[in-house]
């Protein structure tokens, strides 16, 4: 949509058409100048680690060949080992559950809070800022705090539960509950992100829309469902996509709280990759890289889905 209002120009002669084409391609060149910093970034900082990671996954690395750099090329053997490993299926299942449950709750709670804060009231600005505090904390601190709170014996959550007469839950040490525990912590950490972006999106919706709806006698819920949500669609789409990508990468929280255990009950692809590479005294870089690449591929597929979805929406 490069078009300026055509009525403002009278471009009928050949020379002026040529001039217009020249201007457009000049502008195209200009555009890439603006994009030069980002491109440099991508090549230096993303292409290289990606290439190294791909390389790591396609060779049979021992610690010795890692240092000397002469590992034999083994094609997709690392990937085949990964698929055969008994941890693979649980890791995939846990990743799926972890990701979708986290995003679902983060988005819903973030949206509810954004709607709540949308109308300003006394202290709303300060309170909204305070909601971002979880993001200030280094993950080692937030994850450790949740570990403390969810400790089977000395955790405050279990104290509260037992005070209400409910049984003690072994949040971090029981295979049944470990995944739930890390999901809860992850939801808590993800709410600020959703809140900020959805709030920005809500703020961008002009007042007249709400006033018109109110004039038509629409209730709060109807307005929300039929006006707010559709208008928020592009912002929601990007929030969900980014949330998906970031949640796939989540590692610190799970690692610090449960190390992916006990017995792999909270292992996700991300923690498995780290465990293979750095979790024991003997690193297995090849399989670690293979798992990491698998993760990137999955994210890639969803990225493609998103692009397609945006194209479909734009053409409507």
């Amino acid at each position: 949509m490069l078009a300026t209002a055509p009525a403002l120009r009278d471009e009928t002669t050949v020379s002026s058409r040529r001039a217009r084409v020249a201007r457009r391609s000049y502008r195209g060149l200009f555009a890439w100048l603006y994009l030069l910093p980002v491109l440099t970034y991508l090549v230096v900082f993303y292409a290289y680690p990606l290439y190294r990671n791909a390389e790591l996954s396609l060779r049979d690395y021992t610690v010795r060949s890692f240092v000397s750099g002469d590992a034999p090329f083994i094609g997709f053997d690392n990937f085949r080992t990964m698929l055969d490993d008994p941890t693979f299926v649980p890791a995939v299942v846990h990743t799926t559950v972890f990701t979708f449950v986290s995003i679902g709750f983060q988005y819903a709670i973030g949206l509810a809070l954004a709607v709540f804060f949308n109308r300003s009231f006394r202290l709303s600005g300060t309170l909204r800022a305070l909601f971002l505090v979880p993001w200030l904390l280094p993950l080692i601190v937030s994850a450790s705090t949740w570990s403390w709170m969810l400790n089977s014996e000395s955790g405050v959550v279990n104290s509260a539960l037992t005070a209400f007469g409910m049984p003690q839950i072994n949040w971090l040490t029981s295979p049944t509950w470990s995944l739930t525990a890390v999901i809860i912590a992850n939801i808590w950490i993800g709410i600020p992100f959703n809140l900020v972006i959805l709030y920005s999106g809500l703020q961008a919706i002009p007042d007249d829309v709400f006033e018109a709806a109110a004039l038509d006698g629409a209730s709060g819920w109807r307005t929300f469902r039929h006006i707010t949500l559709p208008l928020l669609r592009p912002v929601s789409a990007i929030t969900l996509l980014l949330g998906f990508v970031y949640t796939l990468k989540v590692f610190d929280i799970i690692w610090i709280m449960t190390r992916g255990g006990p017995s792999n009950s909270s292992t996700t692809m991300s923690t498995w990759s780290y465990e293979l590479g750095f979790g024991s005294l003997l690193p297995h870089f090849g399989p670690a890289a293979a798992v990491g690449n698998m993760l990137i591929l999955v994210a890639l597929v969803f990225g493609l889905v998103y692009i397609r979805y945006e194209k479909v929406q734009a053409s409507r």
Binding site: V67, N151, S154, S174, P175, G261, S263, G279, S280, L281
Partner: protein, 417 residues
């Protein structure tokens, strides 16, 4: 309209200036870190980030460098990072001149061809205790020297035991230990706490019971090994140990002990400093073996090693620095600071002379075993990983001890060289 933006920019600039000043003021005093010339500046990496430039340890490192005629730039890293950093640096051809690193990692680094042998350096290792240097021996060659060792024992809460009518001297084998724990539980306390987490730390804590049952790391599925796992599983089932042991680190276990309602904690020499601050009377006994006597405990503690350098000429100064660091007088200071036991007998005696409470630890270290000894080398991490997997499964009830250890042995056997 641009006023708010200008104000924001102004605020940011002020903030930057403020930050820069704070940072500069803070670091201006301390860092005269020598990054002078290339060849006369030696890099030194260790896993003690809690020590900064003003600490005795760093001053010692720098003075050893000076006496060897070079300047030393020392960096402290988180211990879990150090292995991968060393490998990455070696890959790029920029390995440090000296590293201080956890002893079971030495065989991994040696296997990677990253380390020089003590012969390469011309270092004499005869005065070091053999059971401690064994952790750094791979295929008959020694790849570093220990700067200190620590090991595990049972600390006990003397007040609590007295109230429960337990005599610590009576805990000589597994049966008497279990009896003591039962008595403690009867009086409403917790019996014992330890670290059973699914990492190398958990394996470290499991090994005294494992070796104490008579089992051998080469066969995880033996009945002795299974009995060791069942010891832990029964403690959980009977409530002698709190559920949190499944996720405890050694620090967390110590904190549970300091809270005052646990009778025993399995922990190490490094807690001696903290033990002095306990609000109750305490004591130490060695970990009992199944049939009686002290169980062999694993050695913790770091080695100092020298990665391979492109320029052989650097090794002369490196050797001098290592000798200086492991000189008996210096070892005494270092090991006292770190709460380690010295690896040289004469220094051990001096430590005991200074503090008689260290005697049981010196004995324990004398009986201790390196995890990578018996030429297990790089097979140890593989076995260890399967082992912690197995006792975690057994403790959470996902599998019986027997089935879990059998699966662990099969998996380990398939992966070891």
């Amino acid at each position: 309209m641009s006023h708010p933006r200008l104000r924001l920019i102004g605020a940011a600039v002020t903030g930057l200036a403020l930050a820069g000043t704070m940072a500069a003021c803070g670091s201006g005093g301390g860092s005269s870190s020598s990054s002078a010339g290339g060849s006369s500046s030696y890099t030194f990496w260790d896993p003690y980030p809690q020590f900064d430039g003003t600490s005795d340890w760093v001053k010692l490192v720098e003075s050893c460098g000076k006496s060897a005629g070079v300047s030393v730039k020392r960096t402290g890293f988180d211990t879990s990072d150090l292995t991968s950093k060393t490998l990455l640096a070696a890959q790029q051809g920029k390995a440090p001149d000296l590293i201080v690193i956890d002893n079971p990692v030495i065989s991994t680094l040696a296997d990677a061809g990253v380390l020089t042998t003590t012969d390469d350096l011309g270092l004499d290792t005869s005065s070091f205790a053999e059971n401690l240097t064994a952790a750094g021996v791979l295929d008959g060659k020694t790849y570093g020297v220990p700067i200190g060792a620590n090991t595990l024992a049972l600390y006990y809460n003397a007040d609590l035991l007295q109230k429960a009518g337990v005599d610590p001297a009576s805990v000589k084998d597994w049966d008497s230990l279990n009896a003591a724990l039962a008595q403690l539980k009867g009086k409403g306390s917790k019996g014992i706490t330890f670290s059973g987490i699914g990492t190398e730390e958990g394996s470290f804590q499991f090994l005294p019971w494992f070796w104490g049952s008579g089992a051998n790391l080469k066969d995880l599925s033996s009945s002795d090994a299974v009995s060791a796992v069942n010891l832990w599983v029964d403690w959980l089932k009977k409530g002698y140990a709190p559920n949190s042991v499944i996720n405890n680190t050694q620090t967390t276990a110590w904190q549970e002990f300091s809270a005052g309602d646990v009778g025993f904690v399995e922990n190490g020499t490094w807690q001696m400093g903290n033990a002095q601050k306990l609000p109750f009377k305490w004591g130490v006994i060695s970990i009992p073996a199944k049939a009686g006597g002290a169980a062999p405990a694993p050695t913790g503690g770091e080695f100092v090693a020298a990665p391979v350098q492109k320029d052989n000429g650097r090794y002369k100064a490196t050797e001098k620095i290592v000798s200086c660091l492991t000189d008996p007088a210096n070892l005494l200071t270092t090991d006292t600071t770190l709460s380690y036991i010295a690896p040289i007998e004469s220094v051990q005696q001096q430590q005991v002379a200074n503090d008689a409470a260290l005697q049981p630890w010196v004995t324990a270290v004398g009986d201790a075993k390196g995890r990578t000894s018996d030429n297990l080398g790089t097979n140890y991490p593989i076995i260890s990983e399967q082992m912690w997997d197995a006792f975690q499964k057994a403790m959470t009830g996902s599998a019986s001890a027997e089935a879990a250890m059998k699966a662990a042995q099969d998996a380990a056997a398939a992966k070891v060289k």
